[in-house]
């Protein structure tokens, strides 16, 4: 199996699936890379949990504004059409189902769409959940962006999560460096494989009985 997609390429791949007009939350960490990969000329509205719609890309260093940050506390900019609001309103947007898509990182995703991304359960870990649980249950579509494998070579796609959950049955799609997986009623369905890999290789890596939906997707995306 050849090497998978590197992170920026994966971010670009995810960006392809975001339709114009979508309201999208990119959480913190790797998914925020997607912001830079959104197709120029398409209007996609970014929501950040700390009270803003219409978030723009990172500013020039000289224009960094300490009052204008994203959920990861990185400096961002304000697009024409932006709006600010307080935290109860911001999380009301999530919980009320007003976000079209959010993209989150993951420690584990189960075949039923359970997500674990906030806590390893390690005894010395300091737990920190932030807005992850609210996003997980709130957005219309919860996508995960992650490497398929942990640093130890274990699969992040699992039959049942062993880490503490962030949300139950909430993930609809997982974009990994090796392949894209839909969370189908029967478990993970592979819709696209990167870098010339095969479904059997993915089955071996994950230990899961994956459905091959790659041909369906190719037609669907034509």
């Amino acid at each position: 199996m050849t090497a998978g997609l590197e992170r920026r390429a994966l971010a670009a791949r995810i960006a392809e699936d975001i339709a114009e007009g979508s309201i999208v939350n990119l959480g913190i960490g790797a998914p925020t890379l997607i912001a830079d990969q959104l197709p120029a000329g398409l209007e996609i509205i970014l929501h950040t949990e700390n009270g803003m719609l219409g978030m723009g890309p990172a500013p020039e260093p000289s224009l960094v504004d300490p009052d204008l940050i994203n959920a990861g506390k990185q400096p961002v900019t304000e697009l024409a059409g932006a709006a600010y609001f307080h935290h109860a309103d911001s999380f009301g947007m999530m919980r009320g189902g007003h976000l079209d898509i959010c993209v989150l990182g993951a420690f584990q995703v189960s075949q039923r769409g359970d997500l674990a991304n906030w806590h390893t359960g390690a005894p010395d870990a300091i737990p920190a959940v932030g807005g992850a649980m609210d996003l997980a249950i709130g957005a219309k579509n919860v996508w995960v962006m992650t490497d398929l494998l942990t640093r130890d070579g274990g699969s992040k796609l699992v039959d049942e999560c062993s880490y503490p959950l962030t949300g139950k049955r909430c993930v609809s799609r997982v974009y990994t460096d090796r392949a894209v997986f839909d969370v189908a009623p029967t478990g993970f369905a592979v819709t696209e494989i990167f870098g010339g890999g095969t479904i059997d290789e993915l089955r071996a890596l994950t230990g899961l009985d994956l459905v091959d939906a790659t041909s369906v997707t190719q037609e669907g995306r034509s």
């Binding site: 950040t48 949990e49 700390n50 009270g51 803003m52 260093p61 000289s62 224009l63 960094v64 504004d65 300490p66 009052d67 204008l68 940050i69 506390k73 304000e78 600010y84 609001f85 307080h86 935290h87 109860a88 911001s90 999380f91 009301g92 999530m94 919980r95 359970d114 806590h119 010395d124 300091i126 737990p127 920190a128 959940v129 932030g130 807005g131 992850a132 649980m133 609210d134 249950i137 709130g138 503490p164 959950l165 962030t166 949300g167 139950k168």
Partner: protein, 237 residues
């Protein structure tokens, strides 16, 4: 004549008792009321319970209050950050208690306190560790947890400008928890860049009406603004 303005930071934080529950606005450092927290540290109140999104960044503001040993407990959503070393050390040493609340539940619990809601059912946290010990109910086929309001004795809030009635406007993502904390606390104390004349704030654009504000102190313009205009990070450094 109503005037909620006080001249000195020490007056603004006067009377905060040992053991008080204090809400602290801000998300990271945006909207973090550093001047008020510093004044509270100097004032000396201890055994405080802090309600805030984070548990301090770097060595200033809430981090400095923690380092001074004044905080018994932190209720927050996200203590662990790249620059939360003060909290991390205290927590690992067992010197501070921690209650983790998902950020949206935290915001809604604060909002409920201000709005007189007795409790509410939220879908956030169902099926997770957060649900342990909480009432659960299925409504229209969906599972919810029962969460209670989070009241405070004091709220420390940072806003851009106020008038003497306490009406507030904020700046960009510095707004965050300010408006809901202002409503949830028995006494709300606000630091602003400046106090403007009554009538200078557009009534359509007031974010926190003065009804929620008790004391206002002007601390001077934030370094990256000049006469209200953004002049950039270089000017600030």
């Amino acid at each position: 004549m109503i005037s909620k303005t006080v001249d000195h930071l020490a007056d603004a934080v006067a009377g905060i008792e040992d053991g008080a529950t204090v809400m602290v606005g801000g998300f990271g450092l945006a909207g973090h009321p550093v001047a008020l927290i510093d004044a509270l540290r100097e004032q000396g109140a201890s055994e405080l319970t802090i309600v805030s999104n984070n548990a301090g960044n770097g060595d200033t503001g809430l981090a400095a209050l923690l380092k001074a040993g004044r905080v018994k407990k932190v209720i927050c959503s996200f203590p662990r950050q790249v620059d939360s070393w003060v909290f991390d050390e205290l927590y690992r040493a067992g010197a501070v208690q921690l209650e983790i609340v998902p950020q949206g539940n935290l915001a809604e619990r604060i909002r409920a306190a201000g709005a007189g809601i007795g409790a509410f059912y939220t879908p956030t946290g169902v099926g997770t560790l957060i649900a342990e010990g909480k009432e659960q109910r299925t409504i229209d086929g969906r599972d919810f947890l029962l969460e209670y309001p989070l009241h405070a004795d004091y709220a420390l809030v940072s806003a851009l400008a106020a008038d003497r009635w306490g009406n507030l406007v904020y700046r960009k993502t510095g707004r965050n928890f300010g408006p809901i904390m202002a409503a949830a606390a028995r006494t709300t104390i606000v630091q602003v860049d400046q106090v403007v004349p009554l009538g200078a704030l557009d009534p359509e654009a007031v974010v926190t009406p003065g009804i929620f504000v008790d004391r206002v102190v002007a601390v001077g313009e934030r370094p990256w603004l000049h006469d209200g205009v953004f002049v950039g990070a270089e000017a600030a450094s």
